[in-house]
């Protein structure tokens, strides 16, 4: 009887066959994505793209308008503040000149005034 190792041979053959099947499956699957048919894009692709470009351009405009308005407001505010500062400065100079002249007259004529008391 020469069946020693026969079981092992059988298993080996089965393994080889499984391995061959496995390899065949892998190869077939690897090839399944080759030679694909080209899919047609939407025939109105240009119209859609064009509409999208116009939409994006219109979205950008309001933001630009807001920016211009804000910039203009800031400029106006700065001008108002500057004018207000100079006006205040000018009136305080005028007031001090007025008080100085009243003070000098009152000293000359020795008249008591609010300014004398304060100064």
């Amino acid at each position: 009887m020469k069946r020693v190792g026969g079981g092992n041979n059988f298993l080996l053959k089965k393994e080889k066959s499984m391995s061959k099947n496995l390899q065949e499956e892998i190869d077939k699957t690897m090839q399944s994505v080759e030679g694909l048919e080209q899919v047609k894009a939407n025939p109105y692709m240009f119209q859609r793209v064009h509409a999208r470009i116009e939409e994006e351009a219109n979205e950008r405009l309001p933001i630009l308008r807001v920016n211009y308005v804000v910039a203009l407001l800031i400029i106006v505010l700065l001008n108002v503040l500057t004018l207000a500062y100079f006006y205040k400065d000018a009136s305080s100079v005028k007031n001090s000149v007025k008080s100085e002249s009243i003070q000098s007259i009152s000293k000359e004529y020795n008249i008591n005034t609010v300014y004398n008391i304060i100064y």
Partner: protein, 188 residues
């Protein structure tokens, strides 16, 4: 229309030139994006985005590569952006459910519309495997096997050497075979 005439027209924002460009390239760009992102609806949207990007950045096109290459490069980059965005969303969703039932991040089945009927099932398995590849291997494999670009064209699109493309494809195939071995081992 010759390429340099087309480019000049595009830079002048000529509508006819832009229409010519879209009609010339829409099918190819659409197919590249389908292959890369593995979703037909998103590919339609992405193709539009590619052409909008071309319109907006044609002024920056320095003509150091062909118009062809530049277009496909934009398509590939936009596809990769979308893939990364999806990955981030999936990871965030996974993290928020971390105390709930643990779910593995699933890659949805994808049926490419250009696949022959007899290959649909195998192709779905294959695309799932491709989706698991690292970005550069995925890009090289998709452009080569799915879109049938030459190694030289792929090297220009990806801005790598031809040798790098060969190396990426070699590694991609090895990884894909490993995935398929595991997939089919239990089934046979």
């Amino acid at each position: 229309m010759e390429e340099n005439v087309l480019i000049n027209g595009l830079k002048k924002r000529d509508k006819d030139s832009f229409e010519e460009l879209v009609n010339l390239y829409k099918d190819r760009i659409y197919n590249v994006t389908i292959g890369m992102i593995q979703n037909v609806e998103d590919a339609e949207d992405l193709t539009q985005e590619v052409f909008v990007e071309v319109f907006n950045s044609i002024g920056d096109f320095r003509e150091d590569s062909s118009l062809n290459t530049w277009l496909y490069r934009i398509a590939v980059n936009k596809s990769l952006e979308l893939i990364r965005k999806r990955s981030r969303k999936k990871r965030f969703g996974f993290m928020t459910s971390i105390f709930a039932e643990t779910k593995e991040m699933q890659i949805p089945d994808f049926e490419h519309p250009g696949v022959k009927l007899e290959n649909k099932e195998r192709a779905a398995v294959m695309f799932k495997a491709i989706a698991k590849l690292p970005e550069t291997q995925r890009t090289a494999f998709t452009l080569s096997k799915v879109e049938e670009f030459s190694y030289k064209e792929i090297s220009e699109i990806m801005k790598v050497s031809v040798a790098s493309v060969e190396s990426l494809l070699f590694r991609a195939k090895a990884n894909l075979k490993k995935y398929l071995e595991n997939y089919y081992f239990d089934k046979i």
